[in-house]
Symmetry: C2
């Protein structure tokens, strides 16, 4: 295109390179618009597999793809690696830390982060799982716990090192608990001389009356059975009332209990990213209880038709009795819908209302153990596990060389090895640098 045409192009700015933002960018990449994708990271992260990085099966690069690489053949698309500082809807300008970015249409897809329900002091002891850095920190803690147990001579302290508490029985919590159980009861059994890794306790805590609450109750039962077979202790209707000095206080009905555990992982809640607050202040849009943005049926903001919010940050209440869940298939469909809407709007044509096509729910528990709910059929076991594998590989391959992941899994399947169980990062040079005199984690400065 020559520069005259380029000047007239409608400018779409997309904030966030997760599933919804990236699929919107991909869909607009061949349209007669100019697209700018803003992200503070230089890669798209395949979040559904992040727990496999946290538990030593995959490497960060296996589940990440550079945004520039994915979009390199979209010549109308620029990628800007920057943080958003502010928004000026009147002037239609997105203010980045380094520059101002004018837009004709703005698509905000910045997602969610951990939510500690007002107990942000738990963050250090019980880290969550949203970023690559989170996953590497979890990996470090999990494998460090076995190392520390191997060197600990006091039986009580050793038990605490071999106790893993996962808070939250959604898909992430279930997947983490299953993967840690496989580590302790299968992968690591021959590796230590002083400890028996099969003495490890893996507890999965859920406040509601069953794990995987959004799924069909039948699958919750199957998942709980599979977890029990792997050696995970599942406790439902159990609330965490305090975490202090590596002691978790639980409440189950009227019963209160304390558990010593050196490894506590948070998979319990999410809240909207900071952009939700910025949008509320600048446009007056309403937020829900966890800060998600209440969107119109077409994902635009009330009174601001040129601003859209999609993905986990959007509270979409126009289909069913609950908002659409924060899962990848929803995000992908929203991104593609908004991309189509923007193009049609430029042509002055209406498009049908958004309808989410439920592609089913999947959760993996361990090798050969998963649950699948495709709506018309529900199943579990080996077949579910293979369904899960192929569903994930299908998405991964769209981007990059992620056939490697399939091969890595194939290898692990036959050898039960895990190659990525490295303890790395700041201060990971030795256990003594990590654990203070009381045997507690000394969290390096700056690690959130």
């Amino acid at each position: 295109m020559d520069s005259t045409t380029e000047k007239q192009l409608h400018r779409v700015v997309i904030v966030g390179g997760g599933f919804s933002g990236l699929y919107a960018a991909k869909a607009l990449g061949r349209a007669p618009v100019s697209v700018t994708l803003v992200d503070k990271r230089n890669f798209h992260l395949f979040q559904p597999l992040l727990y496999q990085v946290a538990t030593g099966t995959l490497s960060p690069a296996d589940i990440s793809s550079p945004l520039r690489g994915i979009l390199s053949d979209r010549k109308n698309t620029s990628v800007v690696m920057e943080e958003v500082a502010d928004l000026d809807p009147a002037r239609q300008v997105l203010v980045l830390k380094g520059e101002d970015l004018p837009y004709d249409t703005l698509v905000v897809a910045t997602g969610v982060s951990h939510h500690y329900f007002g107990n942000d002091q738990w963050r250090e002891t019980a880290p969550g799982l949203k970023t690559i850095e989170d996953a590497l920190e979890m990996r470090r803690r999990i494998f460090m716990a076995f190392e520390a147990a191997e060197q600990e001579t006091d039986p009580e302290k050793r038990k605490a090192w071999l106790t893993f508490v996962i808070i939250g029985g959604g898909p992430t919590g279930v997947e983490l608990a299953g993967a840690i159980a496989e580590l302790a009861y299968r992968t690591l059994t021959e590796d230590f001389r002083n400890i028996d890794t099969t003495e490890a306790q893996i507890l999965l805590l859920e406040g509601l009356d069953r794990i995987l609450p959004p799924y069909d109750p039948e699958l919750s039962v199957k998942a709980a059975e599979s977890l029990a077979n792997l050696g995970v202790t599942v406790r439902t209707k159990t609330l965490v009332t305090n975490i202090d000095n590596n002691v978790v206080t639980l409440r189950h009905g009227d019963h209160t209990e304390q558990l010593s555990a050196k490894t506590i992982l948070w998979a319990a809640g999410v809240k909207a990213s900071g952009m939700g607050q910025v949008l509320a202040e600048k446009t007056g849009v309403a937020l829900d209880r966890v800060g998600r943005v209440m969107v119109e049926p077409d994902f635009s903001l009330a009174g601001h038709p040129s601003i859209f919010v999609i993905g986990d940050l959007a509270h979409y209440a126009h289909q069913g009795d609950k908002p659409l869940p924060g899962v990848a298939p929803v995000a992908v469909q929203e991104g593609e819908y908004v991309a189509r809407l923007i193009q049609k709007r430029l042509q002055g044509a209406p498009i049908p209302a958004f309808v989410y096509k439920d592609t089913g729910s999947l959760a993996v528990i361990g090798q050969n153990a998963a649950v699948v709910d495709l709506g018309f059929i529900k199943f579990s076991g080996s077949l579910a596990w293979f369904t899960w594998i192929f569903a994930h590989i299908y998405y991964l391959i769209e981007f990059d060389n992620k056939l490697i992941v399939l091969l890595q899994w194939g290898w692990n399947y036959f050898t039960r090895k895990r190659g990525a169980r490295l303890i790395t990062g700041e201060g990971a040079m030795a256990q003594s640098a990590e654990v203070d005199a009381d045997g507690n984690y000394r969290v390096p400065a700056g690690v959130k």
Copy 2:
């Protein structure tokens, strides 16, 4: 074995899980001795491929194997993840941070680290490449430089972001320069909108009169030609006299010159790890100019026949006119030799003196470009490249699931993609967090 036998077992303590220490442990793993391998990390690192992590081709786990996993079937062998605090040769005790470890035979194999020749203040601006963390920091800086150049509007500053200076023309420097040139001139060419990555300047600086000084001069010429073809500017007889504020001061004969470069990588020198100093103090052994330990013909210390030093930390001057070089094949052969010696000594049998069998020298410059010197034959180009690939895969496969590496390379070969070009780690969330107002790196606290 029952506990009575176990009590009588000769205790071998090995410090360091690099090539020499690990191969010694493997060789002793089936002998009637008790072996303890001490390392501050929980994995063996295949250092010859570390530059591929630094330049975004491989992931850390692709070139690392958990020590416990490698040694899990050696039931006489314990792995202790700890740092060494001190040594007491009179009591035959190695003092760890957490405990005392008595030994009958001690094998020290703690290797070397970077050497800035008295200019330790250069470390922050010009990081070296020894650990996984070093490699991830290099990777972050290299890819961040392209991102910063894309956003920079001042032509001078943009040029500095696109200038990469590699100091030191040994194998690591040559491999880094070649890999960065491939990134700039091949992999990334379609990824940016404001910059032309082929305008990047990659400079390789060497103080001596040719690159790859330990190799045959003919191969140095071939390597320099291949680098020039890739777009690398090679400058020999060029000394770095200062690095300050991202400006490198060079001296070539009487000529002095200053270069602005935001990415400066150190591949120039090594010095012995701290254990050399501890050994010198406690046993009176002599050290060479860079702190390596002067060993006897059987790698023991003069007057201390139960202490051995092997690998890069050893200065072995009993073969040829120079000490044996600090490369993996030397380390492997030394480790295996000492393991054999320890076993024979227990039987009261002498073994022949150590003779290093030169397996040849290899350096890779880029896709299809490498130099190989097998002693009886020297060659370069595609055949050398394939020789290099298979030599490395052969070693890697001995350990673990590193067939993955071959597949990754195969994929890269045909697509020219690189999947691992992630910017991660402390403060990698956005460029603005990394670069201060003058456009210099703000190094996060605690990063060495």
